[in-house]
């Protein structure tokens, strides 16, 4: 191969690579992660976008919202609204401690051919049989499990709401998750169905991507104990994400399961 041709191939690959990973990002964005006082409230945005944290694509569904209060019970949001580009809800923090806010979804997606045309379907596992026509050919079914979280502490933080459910990809904070400081390393653990998720890549991207020319992601790799460490280069809201796949789809129709974990974490200046 000519040296010159090789150079062009390398260049083309370099240009294509960033586009490939530029999938839409789902996030929750709280107005504060540390609150106090007699009647603390936060307001939270939920969206799917390209720029962090600018709603520019699609609102996130609040039907998937699960709020866990510091006592481990489920809390209810207030003033829910679904807009074109973002959803919004408020949360009154009646208890002292740490709240976990999560958009949790799992289901199946299928691709198939019907009358020579490619088709796609997304839905719950029990809807699959009725959704795919009998005449469909080349049916490929994949299970998915997604979790998008953020955390808020009212007064002194606690760990009750942070207990993992044992389903899908989950984060267990080792460093207090609402106490993150620029320049200080923070440790977390990733679990897959409750067991340490080793050798996964975790990336963190600071918000306000619109005002810079690169994603500037920082990355970490989980150890065999599922633990990873990130040192925040500066203060801000960070979007952290890890994905993986396995064969535990939980459905006899799907051979593979795709899993994703996302959190929005606030990092304060020292």
């Amino acid at each position: 191969m000519h040296k010159r041709t090789l150079k062009w191939i390398v260049l083309a690959a370099a240009i294509a690579a960033p586009l490939a990973v530029q999938a839409h990002k789902m996030w929750l964005l709280p107005s504060a992660t540390n609150v106090a006082g007699a009647d603390p409230w936060v307001t939270v945005d939920a969206a799917i976008s390209n720029d962090l944290f600018h709603p520019d694509h699609h609102a996130a569904s609040l039907e998937q919202l699960v709020i866990t209060a510091p006592d481990g019970q489920t809390a209810k949001p207030a003033n829910e609204a679904v807009g074109k580009y973002r959803s919004v809800f408020d949360l009154q923090l009646n208890q002292q401690g740490t709240y976990k806010l999560a958009l949790v979804s799992s289901g199946l997606s299928a691709s198939y051919e019907l009358d020579g045309q490619k088709r796609r379907w997304r839905g719950k596992a029990d809807e699959l049989r009725s959704a795919i026509p009998r005449a469909a050919k080349n049916v490929q079914v994949t299970a998915s499990s997604n979790r998008v979280e953020t955390f808020i502490s009212n007064g002194k933080p606690n760990d009750t709401a942070l207990k993992p459910t044992g389903q899908g990809l989950e984060l267990v904070p080792v460093t207090r998750v609402t106490d993150l400081v620029a320049g200080e390393p923070a440790t977390f653990q990733l679990l897959l169905d409750g067991r340490p998720a080793g050798d996964l890549k975790v990336s963190a991207i600071a918000g306000a991507t619109r005002y810079r020319n690169a994603q500037d992601a920082i990355t970490a790799q989980t150890g065999s104990d599922g633990k990873f460490r990130l040192t925040w280069p500066h203060a801000g809201m960070y979007w952290i994400n890890a994905t993986t796949q396995d064969d535990n789809s939980g459905s006899k129709f799907a051979s593979k399961r795709r899993l994703s974990y996302t959190a929005t974490l606030e990092v304060l200046p020292e």
């Binding site: 504060a32 540390n34 609150v35 006082g37 400081v181 200046p269």
Partner: protein, 171 residues
């Protein structure tokens, strides 16, 4: 004469009659701004591992007022909040107080008495943090040795929300 010498010697050996003390001066600078609110200010002593050895003062709007709604804004004293402020059941007698105006504020803390309590001999850092509504936030740190062999005069200076901080220690 011999008796006098002996008694002088004994006096010198005896524990000092005056307990060790910290004399602190904190300057809150004047701000040339259209909208001014007195800063929330916290003063505490950190051990080498940054844990809190003593909470000395926290000045904040204790009631709903035009200065702010009670303790809602206390987390803005970010370091103090994280290092233990959030664990206090406010108000704390002798620690919490109203926000203070611009000027020099003198504080005296005595060994064995609240809020300083009994501090083990060792190296510490006095920390002063100030956060002002619609203004800035600043932390000034003054390392010191307690109680030390001789009188210590230590100073540090903030550049925005805090002015001169001086710490005089009498062992």
């Amino acid at each position: 004469m011999r008796r006098l010498l002996l008694s002088c010697f004994a006096l010198a050996l005896a524990t000092p009659l005056v307990a060790a003390e910290l004399n602190l001066t904190v300057q809150i600078p004047e701000q040339k701004v259209a909208e001014y609110h007195r800063p929330y200010t916290a003063i505490w002593i950190e051990r080498a591992d940054r844990s809190v050895a003593a909470q000395l003062a926290v000045w904040y709007a204790q009631k709903d007022s035009k200065e702010g709604a009670g303790n809602k804004w206390l987390p803005d004293l970010r370091q103090w909040w994280r290092r233990g402020g959030r664990e206090l059941a406010l108000p704390v007698d002798g620690v919490s107080g109203a926000t203070r105006p611009a000027g020099q504020h003198q504080l005296n803390f005595v060994d064995g008495q609240a809020p300083l309590g009994t501090l083990a001999a060792g190296d510490y850092v006095l920390v002063v943090e100030a956060a002002r509504e619609v203004g800035g936030r600043e932390v000034v740190r003054v390392p010191f040795t307690w109680p030390g062999a001789t009188t210590q005069h230590l100073t540090a200076r903030g550049s925005s929300e805090l002015g001169a901080v001086s710490l005089d220690i009498n062992p």
